[in-house]
């Protein structure tokens, strides 16, 4: 049997790199230090894709998000922080999925359709979470935005636990 190459698919690598670059760009616009942290995350993530290591990819995704958190700490506009964090999560998700597809099906196999569905559904779920959160934040902008967002998070955690 012709051996399949157990490496991440090209499509998965492209999507992950794209989201990671977007995340770096968003954080760099706000704070250079945040951009630098995210840039380091991007490098680690790409290295993880190159050697098909899920551990490196998780570390890379973590560093990307650390950059987004730092930007959030500096008090940047919430929308930019949100986009940075969301694209970071999506990059990590796409990279990790590409590695598992590569392990099971190999690089030469046609895996486009399955991966597109995975990425699109992740994007939809992430955008929904961002939209709901940001809408509540904007609606409460006149009164107590922090308290309302705080309560929203607590409520979401309670809901997730109830779903379990």
């Amino acid at each position: 049997m012709t051996e399949i190459t157990r490496e991440p698919s090209r499509f998965g690598i492209a999507v992950a790199a794209g989201f990671a670059l977007l995340s770096v760009a968003t954080t760099a616009v706000v704070a250079t230090a945040g951009g630098a942290i995210s840039g380091l995350g991007l490098v680690v993530l790409l290295a993880g894709l190159a050697v098909a290591s899920r551990r490196l990819i998780t570390n890379g995704g973590g560093i990307l998000l650390l950059g987004a958190l730092y930007v959030g700490y500096t008090g940047a506009p919430p929308l930019l922080v949100l986009v940075g964090a969301l694209t970071g999560v999506l990059a990590w998700d796409a990279a990790s999925n590409a590695v598992s597809v590569g392990e099971q099906l190999g690089k030469e196999t046609d895996t486009m359709r399955g991966e597109v569905v995975h990425v699109v559904s992740s994007v939809l779920v992430g955008s929904l979470a961002v939209a709901v959160g940001y809408a509540v934040y904007l609606a409460a902008a006149g009164g107590q935005p922090i308290a309302s967002v705080f309560l929203l998070v607590v409520g979401a955690v309670a809901l997730v636990n109830a779903l379990r």
């Binding site: 012709t2 958190l69 008090g75 506009p77 597809v101 046609d110 995975h118 997730v160």
Partner: protein, 424 residues
């Protein structure tokens, strides 16, 4: 179809930590952005927890471009998978169960896709046919839920078989040894009589045919004498194939193993011997017993062709059955006709088969050994195995057994070389 319980893939492991870290950082510094990031984390955690991997109901249909191809021809396999269940399969990974004896030469026998109920996915790949009957193993489908957090493995069966019969082409005559039957054939014996090759002259006796009287000598000296020729007779040959586990040796993954080469060579020899009027039979020496009594005729040829193609004794991978060498040898000796020669096909990878060859030769079945060489000399242990095999072959030759050491060149070339050596 068999189901396995869904398992966690840990694809989203760690997303909770993001929510927690963002929340913990946001609380003391009062940053709404961080709370919102925590909300993204919680959203994805909920997504990962939402829904199990669907229980897939799939039907598989394999279409071969040719179901009984000739050896080494390319067969395109088109696999169509239909989602007959009611659940959408957002992440479906298909791995086809290509038979172990076949190799995929173009494309991959895999596909990653998503299928709604009632929809189909198709993929195709090319395999190179090898001798034998190959049955496809179940297709393995890995189903994940949309988030990829849960995974379930399903095996879908669809009986597909590819039968590939060898062509039995005679490439070259196999030189036989002197043991023959009383019937006329093409093996020159030491018996004086009618034939082609000169044997001796003797005094004329009444009743000798006039055509064999040496008239030249009569003209010279006035004495009548008769010329005798070597009688040509047919032989009975049993092609014995070593199919023990020790014979399944190959230099590397790509090259056919020694049993495969033995079976190919036996097919050639069978056809060549049958067309010269000899009686040919086939036997295996291994865990799976196979015996085809020596005979002649077209029907016999067809039987042998089927036997060499898909008898379990000659399968491409070793049999799992236990092997009792002395019982097998005793049974083989009982079955062998007294005047049968043996052509043994064996890589001679151990001492035991060499002693079997010596014993069969000593029992009066003159033995010719055709030995496909599976050794390589790339590392010390391999080189040692090659030396050991050379020693065994030398010992067999010193016992008067004809040995053809069949390397990488075609068998016909080795046969021609050996025939030149033996006739000298």
């Amino acid at each position: 179809m068999s189901y396995v319980d869904a398992v966690d893939t840990e694809h989203w492991a760690g997303i909770g930590a993001l929510a927690f870290a963002a929340f913990a950082l946001g609380l003391p510094f009062q940053r709404p952005g961080l709370f919102l990031v925590a909300l993204v984390g919680v959203g994805f955690a909920a997504y990962a927890r939402f829904g199990d991997a669907p229980a897939a109901d799939l039907t598989v249909d394999r279409d071969l471009s040719e179901t009984s191809p000739a050896p080494d021809s390319e067969v395109t396999v088109t696999v169509t998978v239909e989602n007959t269940g009611s659940a959408t399969l957002p992440d479906l990974r298909l791995i086809d169960g290509v038979p172990p004896g076949l190799s995929v030469t173009e494309g991959t026998a895999r596909l990653g896709t998503a299928l709604r109920p009632g929809k189909r996915a198709t993929f195709s790949y090319t395999v190179t046919a090898t001798r034998g009957s190959h049955e496809w193993e179940p297709l393995t489908a890995v189903v994940r839920n949309a988030s990829g957090s849960r995974e379930r493995t399903v095996e879908v069966d669809s009986g597909t078989t590819l039968r590939c019969l060898p062509t039995l082409e005679a490439s070259s005559d196999l030189p036989l040894r002197g043991l023959t039957t009383p019937y006329s054939g093409r093996v020159a014996t030491d018996v004086a009589g009618s034939g082609l090759e000169f044997h001796s002259t003797r005094e004329y006796r009444r009743g000798d045919p006039l055509s064999r009287v040496d008239w030249n000598r009569y003209a010279r000296s006035g004495e009548l004498s008769t010329v005798s020729f070597r009688e040509e007779r047919a032989a009975t040959v049993v092609l014995l194939i070593d199919s023990r586990e020790a014979a399944y040796r190959a230099p590397d993954e790509e090259t056919p193993n020694a049993v495969e080469r033995s079976v190919d060579a036996a097919g050639e020899a069978f056809s060549a011997l049958l067309s010269t009027g000899d009686r040919v039979g086939i036997a295996s020496y291994g865990p799976e017993a196979c015996w085809l009594a020596p005979a002649t005729g077209e029907r016999h040829r067809a039987t042998a062709r089927r036997l060499l193609a898909d008898h379990p004794a000659f399968s491409v991978s070793p049999s799992e059955e236990p092997f009792y060498p002395s019982i097998a040898l005793r049974r083989l000796r009982r079955r062998l006709p007294a005047d049968a020669q043996i052509v043994l096909f064996s890589p001679v990878t151990d001492d035991y088969i060499a002693t079997v060859a010596e014993r069969l030769d000593a029992y009066g079945h003159q033995l010719t050994l055709i030995s496909p060489d599976p050794t390589v000399d790339d590392a010390a242990p391999h080189r040692l195995a090659r030396l050991e095999r050379d020693t065994r072959l030398r010992r067999l030759r010193s016992h008067g057994i004809r040995v053809i050491d069949w390397g990488e060149r075609p068998l016909a070339v080795e046969l021609a070389r050996a025939t030149r050596r033996w006739s000298r």
